[in-house]
Symmetry: C2
Subunit: 456 residues, 2 copies
């Protein structure tokens, strides 16, 4: 009798987690990963630091290489293999070896689709010009960095002002480029409320990044060689030697759709909380699927590397006979944008309003640590809390500062997950020592202020 | 009719919180703080940084001065006033003005005792020699720093190896002294398990601090001027130009005892969860009282500045007609010891054993952040978790590392407070971005490992 075979499509994040877990559970199963690109198991979130030069070599983004997975984990990884079709009746996957331009077909017992997402291209004239880049895969990063080294451009225009757009603004600035960030709506970082985002806008200005909001983009202008040279806006033309499109991403669900799997209206592959698709032999995980939001109970699309890995592991667990459930997310996110750390969890004011909650919001600024440890000098952390009026339950938090933000947001991420009230948060026994916190931690101060507002 | 009067004895941490809250609640009450020392509202946890030289002036430890409390908060603060007696029948406090050597008496309607704690002096020959120091108050700090500046000692011996002893070892080292830490038991940092403490011992060695454990101290040897010059140990004599006693503290409850208040066997003033003593008009808070441990439900004595402030605020609230409850502690603590951050919450292996829990413990080391952000290079965080065997409930955590420890422990502090299982922790939606965390946060990795151990 033949070995069972578990095929994983896509080997960046979720895919390798799925493969690793399944192989550990069932060492006698053959586990095969088919990855279209040249690299597997890499941190695409690290691409801005590869572009800035902090990470010298693209291999510096890779966690484990193909040889590691073969030798240490017994997993067969085929890179440069693009899956072209899934026959879910015959349980066969068709793929093209891009290196040798030949077709292969592989039968499977269980399959996991971890195809990730692709950049959304805005439908604008000139979007196909040379030197209009996206940054999603390791290959995208290599292409962009080669261009930066060889062409030594002076001016960059970034379309979009989410985390990746602003992280790339920092990376380009670090390389000495003049940077313009162009946003078609009136606010950057739409996952944050406008009052919080003001702090980030000030930081961009301080660092010399031009920000154009409410931009009406008419298209991109090219030179005779077909290279982009300007972004044409109703507000005037901005010269640019390169354009980066950072206008979001869309789930890669075409293969799943063609295989007859159920697809959600937002384009994600429908899975249950065990990461099983509408076909019981096929699982899906990562940026090609949605997530259950723990607070609202709704399905959302908030793709994150850490979520992808958790989902991938659960897909691998259940594809190999286990029974684990993905609990969902609360929308926790953090980014370093120049000197600021920008973090959030749960619902913003805007999101809580849209969901119909009756709530109060309060904002405080309090030092990161005690003034008795001036190395470095403490810096204010601004914290905005959203508390449900009737119950005092914390619905969400936003936090921006220079020091001590990143893992403080996690304290509130748990609080939100656990449905804690701001009163309960205000009495928490949090760590205190002058190098790390004031005697009243900013979180306690924020909770106390929210509590008074709820009681008042 | 006279104004109501609320007297607070002690103005370092809990006392000023009590006074401030009471005055805010009842602006028409006269609030008087009697403080034996010259300073109020200061962070005694910052004393090591004053000694090291990071904080230049003792006033740099003060949060608010006497004038601030008078002008901004309408609170009368009398420094250098030592309370000598409480007459709880007549509701009168007797105090000596140390500046002018005169006695005063003040009647009160409500009283709060926030007298803090004092160093425990070991009963050893020579303990009264000159240049044998303690460090508890701002005055202690000033005396020691003056000595360091004027006498320029070369060798320091520290008796005791808790947080304050080791923080002072760092401070003395920063000033160029040769430091010997002398511990009478076989382990330093008794709030941590021995396997974790090993990391701290290695750090002390790396930084050139001599550590003598299981020391049998026979006494201190003085010169003809009565100045200490050596610590005499069964293990041999250690020359020392100064000795610092860091052998713990004991609650200052003599006044309360003399006033007929109930005192616990461990010497703390007995209070209920409203911070009320056995006399309904008298409240107590801070290092002179104990705390309820949320996990065990037992009364413990774990004095901390942040706890003192929370308790003080609740004492002030309830003394002014409110009704708030102190929820208790979970034993969260953190300290910077040279390059290490050393943190804990809940119960250690030793504590959980002593409490009779059936549990498993697991330890992992995982990088502080992604290798794709090498500025600074990620460093391993070692995390030890204690999980109850039958339920998987997290009972405690210890965490030691160089980067990203301090506020990560707070995530586990909440988890312990909320009675979360390690399974629940492993699925938390924690923040991820390469500068701040690996895609699997060390907390998730630690929880996954603990989970496997619990299931295995």
């Amino acid at each position: 009798m033949n070995k069972e075979r578990f095929i994983v499509i896509g080997g960046v994040a979720a895919g390798m987690s799925a493969a690793s877990r399944a192989k550990r559970n069932r060492p006698d199963t053959q586990v095969v990963v088919l990855e279209k690109g040249s690299f597997v198991s890499y941190g695409s979130c690290g691409l801005p630091y590869f572009i800035s030069g902090l990470v010298k070599d693209i291999h510096g983004l890779v966690v484990h290489d193909v040889a590691f997975f073969k030798q240490k984990r017994g997993i067969d990884v085929l890179t440069r293999h693009e899956v072209t079709k899934i026959d879910s009746q015959a349980k066969v996957v068709f793929a093209r070896n891009l290196q040798q331009d030949e077709e292969i077909e592989l039968s499977y017992d269980k399959l996991a689709i971890c195809t990730g997402a692709s950049p959304s291209y805005p439908n604008l004239p000139g979007v196909d010009l040379k030197n209009v880049f996206v940054i999603r895969t390791a290959e995208d990063g290599s292409v962009l960095k080669d261009f930066l080294k060889q062409a030594v451009p002076k001016r960059a225009a970034i379309i979009g002002a989410g985390f990746i757009g602003l992280e790339m603004a920092e990376a380009f600035t670090a390389r000495g480029l003049d940077v313009t960030v162009i946003k078609r709506s009136g606010s950057i970082l739409k996952m944050f409320d406008d009052d919080m985002v003001k702090l980030v806008e000030d930081e961009l200005e301080t660092k010399g990044v031009e920000l154009i909001k409410d931009a009406i983009i008419q298209g991109f202008e090219g030179d005779r060689e077909g290279k982009v040279r300007a972004v044409v806006l109703a507000q005037g033309t901005r010269q640019a030697d390169l354009v980066l499109l950072a206008t979001g991403s869309k789930p890669n669900s075409d293969l799943a759709r063609q295989a007859g799997l159920e697809i959600a209206p937002n384009g994600t592959i429908v899975v249950d909380d065990r990461m099983q698709t509408s076909n019981p032999d096929i699982f899906a995980a990562g940026d090609c699927v949605g997530q259950k939001h723990i607070i609202t109970g709704k399905d959302v699309y908030i793709p994150r590397g850490t979520t992808a890995n958790k989902q991938g592991r659960i897909a691998g667990e259940n594809a190999s006979g286990g029974n684990e459930v993905f609990e969902g997310i609360v929308g926790t996110a953090v980014s370093k944008i120049f000197d600021l750390t920008v973090a959030r969890t749960g619902l913003t004011f805007a999101e809580a309003s849209a969901e119909g909650y009756d709530f109060v919001s309060s904002t405080v600024a309090h030092p990161s640590h005690a003034h008795t440890y001036p190395n470095p000098e403490p810096k204010d952390i601004t914290i905005k809390l959203i508390g449900e009026r009737a119950t005092g339950t914390l619905l969400g938090a936003q936090m921006i500062g220079v020091i001590g933000v990143a893992k403080r947001i996690d304290v509130l991420a748990i609080a939100v997950s656990q449905g804690m009230t701001v009163g309960e948060i205000s009495s928490l026994d949090l760590s205190y020592s002058p190098p790390f916190a004031p005697v009243w931690d900013p979180i306690l101060v924020a909770a106390n202020v929210a509590l008074r507002k709820l009681e008042g």
